[in-house]
Amino acid sequence: MYHKFVPVIGYGNIRSGSELILKIFLLTLPIMNNQDPKKTIELLKQGDKKTLEKIYMENREGFINFSKKYNIEEYDAVDIYQDSILVLRENAINGKIDDLQSNLSTYLFAIGKYKIFHNFRVQSKFDFESDFDLVEENLDFDVNLYESNLTKEQRFLKKYYHELGDRCKSVLDLFYYQGYNLDEIKDILNYSNKKVLKSQKSRCIKQLKNLLNKHYEKF
């Protein structure tokens, strides 16, 4: 299956007669460079910017070259690529790729291909099928979490959430988005004990409700 993912590593545009030999040779490069995927996935969950940038940069060109085969303009390809990274992170956070067998680039590419296939109604499903198994098994596509999908209440909530202090936002983000429990958050944010953290979290929620109350009767 690996030969299909040559574009993953960005050598899709080699224009030489000995393309095949080169590609086989180049496939060894990422193996040499591979760091522990579990560690990468953990950093991805934490939203580590360096890790994100590395993933983004390493796969971007390959993905755009791949999209060109389906006559997708670079502008659209970048859009699909970015959405695929969003899905990748979402799935990392939801623990869906904790036991990922293939490498992360392969998985990211599979998401992108899936999106191309669905968004652009590409004819030849043939190219994609083996990847879809990988994707459908481990993927939640219900991550269309754009602002337009929010209810009126949720939009208010979002507005006032921004007015919270950084400390509150960190606690709530770690708890409600990244799925850490209070013991873990205590260590991450250096709280002296869990009780202090717990009452901090309650205060943050209360503060948010107060902000809302001023403007919105329901809460």
């Binding site: 080699i14 030999i21 080169l22 490069l29 910017k49 994100l52 969003l86 429990n181």
Partner: protein
Amino acid sequence: MKNFDLIDRYFDSSLTPKEQLLFNDLLQNDLDFKNEFVFRKDLKKVIAVNQQEVLKSTLGQFEEKIQQSSKFMILPKKWFVAASIILVASLGAYSIKSIYYPSNQAVFETFYQPCRNTIQPTVRGDNPNTIEYRAFVAYEAHNYHKAINLFNSVKNADEAYINFYKGLSYLELDKIKEAIEILLPIAKANGLEGKSANFNDKAAWYLALAYLKNNDKEKSKSELSLITQKPKGTYKKEEAQELLGHLK
């Protein structure tokens, strides 16, 4: 209030079966509990949307970085390694192939490099947002169809430097006849000035390559020998000499 803990335990999936029953019961029968559940569920969603937006804007920054600096500069180190290996390997492959008469196409591939945009630095900040500027942005982004359309719509569409990049865009799109039609007059033009100065030397080189790609070896050779007769320091003079050697 104590019961609200159940909600958070529900979110991190740590409810015991017994607690799950209590949770279900409260959700149906206790309005406060239900409201609190809806609130926290909304909060969870809102935070997720917020995080998505933050990530999206981070990705936007990466993308901007790519657009800003020349693509070459920001490639990670291992790509340089890859690039040099490709270079060495393709030189190796080339010398093996050249024993068996390389095709014109292969020779073209070896010598052809897209011409960098030296006219309009497409750097963010002083963004004039003129048609010409957008044309060069499209050219740099390898969006050659768009570039050609925009080059056709600029005010000074007849200027040599505009035509030059339009010609190169056609060349990139494998529309060689159009490319030759455009590049030929620039290569033969005399006394180009201002922004268009130097472009006839550049056009001559790419014209030679375009002929080659079109399998018109003789015309390519005569164009190349014209370049080799020009003074030292002429654009791609040495490469022209080398390429001429391969074609003989």
